[in-house]
Symmetry: C2
Subunit: 246 residues, 2 copies
């Protein structure tokens, strides 16, 4: 189908998906560009394709050929995008394997990078606290390099879920810039859950009280970037696992 008017009802509807409110209402979100679209297609999450190039049509998925002006209105990027996919949100799955909990992560780039590193180092689930940034923000999706489709990502009350994980036999590790066990000396089991705190203030003090152990990374300055700290911990946890499997 061909759409040429910026006032077309479809265009208005798609454009709304740039706002969290409508993404939540409709259960849909947008991905931009070949790479992200292909990952979403692999996971069967694409319901419509919007493009300025008719050769990008894919059999079995409704296709809309639009003008450059419409594409510009829908795109969140400065450089020109050729294709956008309208995707269904992820289905939440059972929480299992290695788990990372994010306590009020605010920066979309950090969340995307944490998701990318979690996939890299064999984590299965990411739990976002209710006050964390929206998973379907375009900057999160871009920074994740499309890895949001490869992980079980759920949003929960963080206090409740920590208690639930404990009853399931998980060991809960908090993170602290000042004190705790030295990361490099730690050994992690299969039922490991790591909590990463907010960029500015770290983890909530009340949440720290629920942890079985605090992890500390020795550094020569105040703190690390939150996604870097998370990634280094994932790397060590994964290294542990591969040691055991030898």
């Amino acid at each position: 189908m061909r759409i040429e008017s910026l006032n077309n009802s479809k265009v208005k509807e798609w454009s709304k998906l740039k706002e969290k409110k409508y993404r939540d209402q409709l259960g849909l979100f947008l991905v931009e560009g070949d790479h992200l679209l292909n990952r979403a297609i692999l996971k069967d999450q694409v319901v419509e394709i919007i493009s300025i190039d008719e050769t990008l049509e894919i059999p079995g998925i409704p296709f809309y050929l639009v003008t450059k002006e419409i594409m510009k209105k829908l795109s969140c990027q400065v450089t020109s995008t050729k294709v956008i996919g309208v995707c269904q949100k992820n289905h939440e799955k059972e929480i299992m394997g290695l788990v990372c909990l994010l306590d009020n992560i605010q920066d979309p780039g950090n969340l995307g990078t944490i998701i990318r590193s979690a996939v890299a180092f064999n984590f299965n689930t990411i739990i976002l606290s209710n006050d964390s940034v929206d998973l379907y923000n375009d900057k999160v999706i871009r920074a994740s390099e499309g890895m949001i489709f490869d992980l079980n990502i759920v949003r929960r009350d963080i206090y409740k879920i920590v208690r639930e994980l404990k009853t399931k036999g998980y060991k809960i590790y908090g993170t602290d810039v000042l004190k705790g066990m030295e990361l490099k000396n730690m050994v992690f089991g299969d039922k490991t859950a790591i909590i990463i705190g907010n960029e500015g203030r770290g983890m909530c003090e009340e949440l720290k009280l629920l942890c079985d152990e605090m992890i500390h990374i020795s550094i020569n300055c105040e703190s690390l970037n939150a996604s870097v700290a998370a990634s280094i911990i994932f790397y060590e946890v994964d290294k542990n696992g591969s040691k055991k499997s030898k």
Copy 2:
């Protein structure tokens, strides 16, 4: 001194510092906010302070009280900034200790994060290839959390400097997403230089040929974010060092 006109010559001059061309010409750059300003003051690099709040005056540094409109014109941030420091660029120092070379890093957030992690894990020098992003870009400075003042950061022809480092006894480690020595099995000496490649295409193939060894991090997806990969390597190199000093 009080300035109220947007057309004041001082305002025009400061405003130019938002562009790389003028930062290079004048050898000056801007930092925004208390935290970054204080770090720059500690290092004696602040030549002027611009603020909307007269209580922020600091003895010994020329102070300009400006209007909110002027501040808005000078600021690169969405939220309102109260104070801006005009700073002298870093002086390049001798290259020594642990070294990280960046081959065409483009994302300012990545460069800032790499600088922050380099300080955290006791690296002494960062060498930017001539085609890397500008160190004095406001996003670099912000992502570095002011750590740009705590490191020797130089810009060089990367091929020339790699050869120079070799004659100084440095061992040059490249990074590759596909092959190389497993990071976790490696031992690093004091004269270690790590090369991190461009975000999209990694290191140049010709540059790889100059390396003594390639580092590889085993992961479950295509690649890691460049600043995450760099930080994990810094962490391992630093861990090595602290093992040896025991």
